[in-house]
Symmetry: C2
Subunit: 153 residues, 2 copies
């Protein structure tokens, strides 16, 4: 391995919801709701999903896309301020090979009767570069859109 | 809290050691050795130090500077490649208030008979800005120097 095989980067995704911060936050905190918009999606097979939403707690997802290789997403929650902030770190593996570790910050701010959400991800990738960062950014933007749909928006 | 109260940043510290990567890595992996250069220092009081050095494992330090307020440093290890790479996330509190969460990457590369170490920290600070990042960078550079001393260099 050489240092060149690692890529550090950062990206931000923003989205405004009609729902109040309390409802948006609840969709991250409630295991049944979170699983629905975060883990489940067309073509994705969820082998297991566990959420222990508290500081020092974890989220663990085991999944495959169709008949694809087994993947994992393991999260640790570092900092939670109800209705306002979630800071977590997570790593991902494909076929047992870790390919990224991220520090993710979600900030919720009241915007009128709704919520402005700002998601920032500081990421280190192994053996991948900027293209993979852009893919991750698009994936996160899609997830924030799925959350909107889950909120009935 | 407003989003402005958060500051995302990144910094890198490099240091070359005469010791081989195996010895440098061991100083991070061995709880007795790690405690000595990482936690103990003149003026620091260590209330507790625990290291479980493995992927998914943790490091927990409870400490005070002199008669100062209680501080904590809680680490989770995401990715470990023996003698080559350590990726961890950690958060810090002072008087029970969390003030930073970081994603830290250490890469060790053989350089002749020695080791080139590159430490990269992606950080989010709460209620602090660039000055605090520079303080953290200096603190990390000092730690890599303490490691050199611990290696007899």
């Amino acid at each position: 391995m050489s240092d060149e095989a690692m890529h550090h980067d950062v990206f931000t995704v923003e989205r405004t919801y009609r729902a109040a911060p309390e409802r948006v936050f609840d969709a991250w905190a409630d295991p049944v709701k979170k699983r629905r918009w975060f883990a489940e999606g067309e073509g994705w097979n969820i082998d297991s999903y566990d959420l222990d939403f508290r500081e020092g707690g974890f989220e663990r997802t085991r999944f495959r896309f169709g008949d694809g290789p087994p993947m994992t997403n393991d999260t640790v929650f570092h900092d939670i301020v109800a209705n306002r902030r979630i800071v977590c770190s997570y790593d991902m593996t494909r076929s047992g090979q870790r390919f990224s570790v991220s520090l993710a910050t979600l900030v919720l701010e009241r915007a009128g009767s709704g919520t402005r959400a700002r998601y920032t991800e500081q990421i280190v990738l192994f053996g991948q570069g900027r293209d993979a960062v852009e893919q991750r950014r698009l994936g996160c933007a899609e997830l924030l859109g799925r959350l909107a749909a889950a909120l009935g928006e």
